[in-house]
């Protein structure tokens, strides 16, 4: 899982990461509590023990003073100092100007004057080092001070170890929680982006897309299963609608064809007079037009069903464009429209020759229909890195700006003026073809004129 594949800033904003930050804080607090309890029960109890020892000594010495007076106290202190077995005890007895009267340190530690409070200071040792000492000062008689203390070397060491362990521990917890949170977020973000990617593809019109399942049976999988089931349902409904539309077109087409055949039979019969024959021919023309519209609808439905995709192969778009140009050249010439084709090079892409030919022909047809006499229509192919762009630009009246967005939408026909002689389905078909090729249709006014561009990816193999 490489970090660089995901946008880290986006990642830090994910709810999973936010959640893991909260967990990180919770962890830190619990570690702190744990250390607190440990501290209290180890270092704390040692302190309490030392405190108790010192307190006991102080009360013993205070008792001595009460019983034997000052000289007695000095005696006892001197004796205790000489008693080598308890080297870790510190005794100091000093007068009001802190001059030492007895004790096992060579001077009174500075600033330690307040009585009845716990002090800690460092005592210089013989070998030049220092030793931490915990002590309490007792005021004796008038202005005399007695300091009783204990070296707390082990305790200080333990405290230091504890402190280091706490810092390291909390640091490690933070680090593990952070990276863990990040990785969990990446994993979650992957799943979510899988769902997002599929959703986007569906928005772009490929309803066949489904969210891939991991097989972990986690909540993402069950979400994906549900969404996929929902999409199946939508697709079934859509194809149902499409099927109904197709069936209507199909069902109407059959009787319409019968009608047309009957009319044709009557027409060939030849027993009718002039006006009847003309009327009959008009009827045949009208039914042909109706059939053509049904055919166009059915063709669009067929294209949109994706049925052609299985027959896609590598084709040369330029050749298709040249063929369409050849087919339309005489028509354009007859209308005195200059039709030009800039498609000299081979442009291979993956698609269907007939669909693309029909799309190009529809565009040329449209342009030639609306460009006034003397105008020009240009068919061009531009090669871009990963796609091929086919453009049909004309010098016609263009499309009103507010209609352009309508063209971009499906099943919307242009106003009467632009679609009077056709069935208004020309661009709908072009759009359907382009979508099947995973491409894009762009309609722009060029003032004067209209330009329709088809951007087709060079290979739609991978896009399946």
């Amino acid at each position: 899982m490489a970090l660089d594949t995901v946008n880290v800033r986006l990642l830090l904003r994910t709810s999973t990461f936010q959640l893991s930050v909260r967990y990180m804080l919770l962890f830190t607090i619990s570690v702190l509590v744990l250390f607190g309890i440990l501290y209290w029960s180890t270092v704390g109890s040692l302190y309490r023990e030392i405190n108790a020892t010192i307190e006991a000594e102080i009360s013993g010495l205070a008792e001595q003073y009460e019983r034997q007076g000052l000289s007695g106290l000095i005696d006892v202190v001197a004796k205790r100092v000489q008693r080598k077995q308890d080297e870790r005890s510190i005794y100091l007895f000093a007068d009001s100007s802190l001059r030492l009267l007895a004790g096992n340190m060579d001077h009174w530690p500075q600033d330690l004057l307040a009585t009845g409070r716990w002090f800690e200071f460092n005592k210089a040792t013989a070998n030049g080092g220092t030793v931490p000492v915990r002590a309490k000062v007792l005021s004796v008689g008038r202005n005399l001070r007695l300091l009783v203390g204990r070296e707390i070397h082990e305790l200080a060491e333990l405290k230091r170890v504890f402190k280091r362990a706490a810092i390291l521990g909390i640091g490690a917890v933070l680090l593990v929680a952070f990276t863990g949170g990040l990785f969990i977020s990446i994993a979650a973000e992957r799943r979510v982006s899988m769902i997002n990617r599929t959703a986007r593809q569906i928005i772009e019109g490929d309803l066949s897309q489904r969210i891939p399942l991991i097989g972990s049976r986690d909540e993402y999988d069950s979400l994906a299963i549900n969404i996929n089931a929902m999409l199946d349902q939508i697709e079934a409904l859509l194809s149902g609608i499409r099927h109904v539309g197709d069936s209507i077109a199909h069902d109407l087409k059959t009787p319409l064809t019968r009608l047309r055949n009957k009319l044709e039979e009557l027409s060939v019969d030849g027993s009718r007079d002039g006006t009847q024959q003309i009327g009959l021919n008009k009827c045949i023309e009208e039914s042909d037009r109706l059939l053509a519209t049904f055919n166009a609808l059915l063709r669009i439905a067929q294209i949109e069903s994706g049925a052609y995709r299985s027959a896609f192969r590598t084709i040369d778009l330029a050749e298709i464009a040249r063929d369409a140009f050849d087919l339309y050249q005489p028509t354009a010439e007859e209308k005195q429209i200059t039709l030009a084709c800039h498609c000299d090079y081979t442009e291979r892409l993956f698609g269907d020759r007939e669909l693309l030919a029909q799309a190009i022909m529809n565009l040329l047809d449209n342009s030639i229909k609306y460009v006034p006499v003397g105008g020009h229509v240009e068919l061009a192919i531009q090669s871009e890195s990963d796609r091929v762009k086919l453009t049909v630009a004309d010098s016609g009246p263009g499309i009103p700006e507010d209609e352009i967005t309508n063209v971009e939408r499906r099943f919307v026909r242009l106003d009467q003026a632009r679609s009077e002689s056709g069935n208004g389905l020309g661009l709908t078909l072009v759009r359907a073809v382009v979508e099947q090729h995973r491409g894009r249709m762009i309609v722009e006014n060029t003032d004067p004129g209209l330009r329709v561009s088809l951007e087709l990816p060079r290979s739609t193999l991978g896009a399946q």
Binding site: T254, N261, S267, A292, Y328, P330, T331, M361
Partner: protein
């Protein structure tokens, strides 16, 4: 000329057979695949019109069986589906032509004529020269002349004329031209073909007393000399 129609839809069968009988063909009808296959293998026909979807043995199986037993009678497949791969499937199985239902009778008639004619032609040697009246096309030198006068044609115009000459005397529909000359199997729904035809007509008929290229109303075009009418003489 004897035809076999294998079609289970009685409406379609009677409408097609009526039309073809009027056009001078003898027509047999089978309403299921089994009978159809039996007739096709035991009798002699010039063209078979077979529906793709049939009870019992389907249309494609009939064609495959016929081809497997070296019976080369041309077959037109009729299909109600009209889907993409149908045509390809139909032609792959050995069908000679394909027509999606519903179709105009003139379209089917034109295709039946084209196949019976092809049948007749293929019995003789393949000629490198095509002739209709005083119009002459040399396929090897790619030259066209009428009454000894050379006619300059664009490559597509040459192909178009070749197709029309190969189907001389028959009605050729716009769809057949699109399929045969431009290799498009869809209906462009415009009069592009008409413009090509009128250009060709200007080149081969202009300045000659007798026109060769005729428009058949509601159906298509026919290339023929005025005095011979092949389409009314299918036998």
């Amino acid at each position: 000329m004897r035809l076999l129609i294998i079609e289970d839809d009685k409406n379609v069968a009677s409408f097609v057979s009526k039309g073809l009988q009027q056009a001078g063909y003898m027509v047999d009808i089978a309403d299921n695949g089994k009978d159809g296959l039996f007739l096709a293998t035991t009798e002699t026909y010039d063209v078979i019109i077979a529906d793709r979807m049939l009870p019992g043995v389907d249309g494609l199986t009939i064609i495959r069986t016929l081809r497997a037993s070296d019976i080369t009678i041309p077959v037109i497949i009729l299909s109600a589906l009209g889907e993409v791969d149908d045509r390809v499937d139909g032609l792959k199985s050995g069908g000679d032509d394909y027509l999606a239902k519903p179709f105009a009778f003139s379209e089917l008639h034109a295709r039946v004529e084209a196949l019976t004619r092809r049948q007749r032609d293929s019995r003789g040697a393949e000629s490198s020269v095509l002739e209709i009246g005083d119009l002459r096309m040399d396929l090897l030198r790619r030259q066209v002349e009428r009454a000894g006068r050379k006619i300059e044609l664009q490559p597509k115009e040459f192909e178009l004329l070749e197709f029309l000459m190969r189907h001389g005397g028959q009605v050729v529909t716009r769809t057949m031209l699109l399929e045969g000359v431009w290799r498009y199997h869809f209906d462009p729904q415009t009069n592009v073909i008409d413009v090509h035809i009128s250009r060709l007509r200007a080149k081969i008929d202009k300045g000659f007393e007798q026109p060769l290229l005729h428009t058949v109303r509601g159906a298509g075009y026919r290339l023929e000399t005025g005095d011979v009418n092949l389409s009314s003489d299918p036998a």
